[in-house]
Symmetry: C2
């Protein structure tokens, strides 16, 4: 990068991104082959305690909207020409019989681990067997995707609650610093959410290992994403991480296998309370900071064009030598800079 | 936007961007037609005082690299499929006879106002007639471009010096807050730059109006860009603003015609000292913050995909009604949220 036709470092974080992508893919001239979007969806037992501004039924309605091609993630994936796979990891609504085939470029996989998780405020959200199945499903889904790059996202009413619980247990941060308004809770709603999460933490104090914590507090979609992240990192794929909930999956995977983080590109820092701090604790520097808080991989897709831009710059820019630029003036020998009128480079 | 299938406001600054673009183009369903990249290039008399890490000869070498299709701006414009117009507004090197035709998608216009500006530390950088010609050239160039959207950038060794001088005079900020290391000055170089700029400010104290200040301290490329910005705003085109030097042109244009700012989208906050403060003083909120400091419209092109994404989301997303989502649960009537198992939306 320092030999390309620009002042060294002048492309800033895009140069860091190019270096990261080259490192993940093990190539000086990396190529993002056949990038894929994977969105995992599930419902959460905690929603019965009013932790979200929306009812669980919205999860199913939004899956239908994604598949019809008219949710934000559908629009952005189509705009960038990226295939989108949507996985029912445990949606409460019955999605066995959808009216129509998904829109072009979108694939739907039904693999529910249950009709949403159990209420984590009353005990573990999943059984240990469900969590193992979810991790295995994520590994299987990821391995079945072509290409060397995957953009990860999620959907599920109540899933910022699950992510907040995982943040508390994985980072040791106080609950209040890990809980936000999600899809848009008002003040009483936020108080209700905090109380429900405090109850869930007390009800699951016995969980110790990352997998036990995921079993106790996670959602099905987070567990499936965790498996996908683990497999993607093992296979040295580029993992483009969306917002708060996807970060939860990355954090669980990193707790299980620290090298996972090397393969992750954090797309954006979400407006959801806790995400900025969690990114900092993970040592992640998200690319965008645009107050996004939608999920669905939308933040990851808004940042996406920076990745092909970074690798294309690396591959297609001229070197300084080819550009006929010899480098900076040496002020020791030329204290006054170049005289006017000198036609060529030094 | 609040009726689309997402929580209100959840696309954050991308929603603001969509609103801004709709406002500029005067449409609820704006379309960015035939977007163009315009890069203005010139040299600066101040470089003889050692204000840059590179000699003026690099400007001409970089024009050749851009036209060959292998500079950063060439790579990014090609990657996004945007036509690129490069204008010699006064490069020191003789660019009359280029070896080969420009690469596909790139057009070169020679319209030099001189072989670089005069030394602003010894008096005005331009004559009043040169500045008028530059402004008229910018208006003419812009009006000749098709489409309703223009991405603006610049190139010219020494032009952060001209931009810093304009910042001091237009904002009243102290010189030290307006001067950075440009392409990469070391500490003695930065001290030399500051001293030269202080001399230039003293030598041009008589300038009062925005046009007089531009004449005294600006570069040819900045003056041409100023004319282009004025014309673009009058024609209600979307103006995508690159970094520190392009901001200088926007600031001069805004001092001449305040409504100009309504049509500007600030692509990124540069690593160049002064840019963050100048954006804040203009009330601008740049989209990216990636430590870029290359110019050439590269920051504008890295942010570019956010603009089509914003308008495409506005045009193609389903409404909440179409998605079968009735809106948030009313906690007053449903304090416990939705019961599990309810199949559809409320």
């Amino acid at each position: 990068l320092d030999h390309l036709a620009k002042p060294p470092g002048s492309l800033g974080r895009v140069e860091d991104l190019a270096v990261d992508l080259a490192g993940i893919l093990g190539s000086d001239e990396p190529t993002l082959r056949d990038p894929q979007v994977l969105v995992c969806v599930a419902d959460h037992g905690l929603t019965a305690r009013g932790v979200s501004a929306y009812p669980s039924s919205v999860t199913g309605a939004m899956v239908r909207t994604i598949l019809a091609g008219s949710a934000a993630v559908s629009v952005l994936a189509r705009a960038h020409g990226l295939p989108l796979t949507v996985v029912d990891c445990g949606v409460q609504a019955d999605l066995t019989s959808l009216d129509t085939a998904p829109a072009a470029g979108i694939r739907f996989i039904r693999a529910p681990l249950g009709p949403g998780t159990a209420d984590a405020a009353a005990g573990p959200a999943m059984t240990a067997a469900q969590c193992r199945s979810a991790l295995a499903l994520g590994r299987r889904l990821l391995t079945g995707l072509p290409g060397n790059t995957v953009v990860l996202g999620e959907l599920g009413i109540g899933n910022t609650s699950a992510a907040s619980l995982l943040m508390v247990r994985l980072t040791g941060e106080p609950l209040a610093a890990c809980v936000g308004t999600g899809t848009g809770l008002d003040a009483p709603g936020l108080a209700r959410k905090r109380a429900a999460l405090a109850t869930a933490l007390r009800a699951n104090e016995q969980a110790r290992t990352p997998e036990e914590i995921l079993t106790a507090l996670g959602g099905f979609e987070i567990a499936v994403l965790t498996g996908a992240v683990l497999a993607a990192a093992e296979q040295r794929r580029v993992i483009v991480v969306d917002g708060f909930v996807t970060t939860a999956a990355v954090a669980v995977a990193t707790a299980m296998a620290p090298a996972t983080l090397e393969c992750c590109v954090f797309a954006h820092v979400s407006a959801e309370r806790g995400h900025r701090r969690w990114c900092a604790l993970l040592g992640a520097r998200p690319l965008l900071d645009l107050d996004l808080r939608l999920g669905e991989a939308t933040g990851a897709l808004l940042a996406w064009p920076l990745l092909p831009a970074a690798v294309t710059l690396l591959r297609e820019m001229a070197t300084l030598t080819a550009a006929g630029v010899s480098g900076p003036t040496d002020p020791a020998t030329e204290p006054g800079g170049q005289p006017r009128g000198q036609p060529g480079p030094e």
